[in-house]
Amino acid sequence: MKERTHLFNLFEIISIITAAVVVVFTSVLILTIIVRGFPYLQEAFLSKEIQFSIKLSLYTASIATFICMFLGVPTAYALTRTSFPLKKLCQIIIELPLSMPYLVLGLSLLLIFSSDLGKALKELGFRVVFDKNGIILAQTVVNLPYVIRFIRTAFQEVDERLEFISGSLGASKWKRFTTITVPLSKNAIIATIILTWSRCLGEFGATLMLVGATRMKTETLTTSIYLNLATGDNGAAMASATIILIISFASLFITNWLGRKNSKESRMKDVTLR
């Protein structure tokens, strides 16, 4: 018995040391950006180019996040709560981009929108290649499979029996969805929105393939880092990186804060599992 306790403690110690290594490594990464970028931050905020890239990044990330949620929530519902032919195959196709390099996704978008279809859309006034619409499209395509995966997992975790009870109390499928499924996955949905927005903000590979990197035209914050590093302006690049970091911190903080705010009181709240 004594030996087992000793082994358990050793395991705990090893896990804590591993966690400490991860924390130190991540802290060094973050601090490097902050320390190198902070001195240039004020100058960056006054720069028209950086202001443009912040606005473009916030605008495209917000629209792309909205589109991802608009498409992702019904898709996740269909995958978890309905049955239709070839459902498994559909799920594999939807989640396939998760394992694809973003450059490849960007390349396929470029090929599609450089074709006759793309030219026809351009003539109708919907420009994609080398346009900010392309940035939104690239961010959406890259993040949609993540949104579907996250929301699908959240819906799967909702006890279907609660929806069944809700139905037995007279609720239609729509009411069951809005009064039971969504509120019980609320934290996951909010976290998904914020994380998707952060990921859209940091998207680069697919965007670069589809819209290129043109100053003051398709220059998002990540593109700004790339352009400034390419021209040797390391300070501006670090400042852009710091801005992305600040936004990421803020979104992570909001996610955690909302998670804590929405947690329900429980009899088990003071119990620590030993």
Partner: protein, 245 residues
């Protein structure tokens, strides 16, 4: 007596488990218990009657209509799960009020109805609490109130007393019988407790390995029959209970 539920040649396969060739009639205003060991298929039978599953052979009808052809929201079934299935993000009041809100009942009427139910089940003091803070007995009363506030035609309960201590169980037996008198609905519940089945039910169905092997009046529960599995099950359990005493 009219049959509230008619089950004819019902079979269902769920993974490796199979419910085989069930034939059963449950009558209006009856209290019927489904008795069996853990894993005998009691809950699956209950869920099948409620129309939880869509792929099966045979037929399950409620008041003459096939259960899966009636939309869930129009079946007028109250369902109480073993863990009571309360909505964790709603207070006790909102849980009870849920079905009334769906019916778009006037707010004042809703308040009155919930207050009446809360009084019958002695849960007035917990209406503002969330399910996570309630005891087993309080959760069960809340689940019952939520189901009964809509005056269902039938109340289905999956081992509703298993999580309760003996004293609470006794008082709940009385309360359910009282509720049955007040609301006059058909009650179907599953249990593995012989004593509970005898106290509560008019008739008892005995499940063994996915089959409904016998239906008896509750006073005849321990009568010997030709089915050795049933005799073994009943003797084993009663002996166990005596040993425990």
């Amino acid at each position: 007596m009219n049959a509230m539920v008619e089950i004819k040649d019902f079979s269902i396969q769920l993974g490796s488990f199979k419910l085989k060739n069930i034939n059963l009639n449950i009558f209006d205003n009856e209290i019927f218990a489904v008795l069996g060991k853990t894993g005998s298929g009691k809950t699956v039978l209950l869920e099948s009657i409620a129309g939880f599953y869509r792929r099966f052979s045979g037929n399950v009808t409620i008041q003459g209509k096939s259960v899966i052809e009636i939309p869930l929201e129009k079946r007028k079934i109250g369902f109480v799960y073993q863990d009571f299935g309360l909505f964790p993000h709603m207070t006790v009041y909102d849980n009870i009020c849920y079905g009334l809100k769906i019916q778009k009942m006037d707010k004042e009427k809703r308040k009155k109805k919930v207050a009446e139910m809360a009084e019958i089940l002695s849960i007035e003091h917990i209406l503002k609490q969330y399910p996570g803070t309630l005891s087993g007995g309080e959760r069960q009363r809340t689940a019952l109130a939520r189901a009964l506030v809509l005056n269902p035609k039938m109340l289905l309960m999956d081992e509703p007393f298993s999580a309760l201590d003996p004293a609470t169980k006794q008082s709940m037996y009385e309360q359910i019988k009282e509720i049955h008198k007040i609301f006059g609905c058909t009650i179907l519940f599953v249990t593995h407790d012989f004593n509970e089945a005898q106290i509560m039910a008019d008739r008892i169905g005995i499940m063994v390995n996915g089959e409904l092997r016998g239906i008896r009046k509750s006073i005849d529960l321990f009568k010997k029959c030709q089915d050795e599995d049933i005799n073994n099950f009943l003797c084993g359990n009663s002996r166990g209970e005596k040993d425990a005493i």
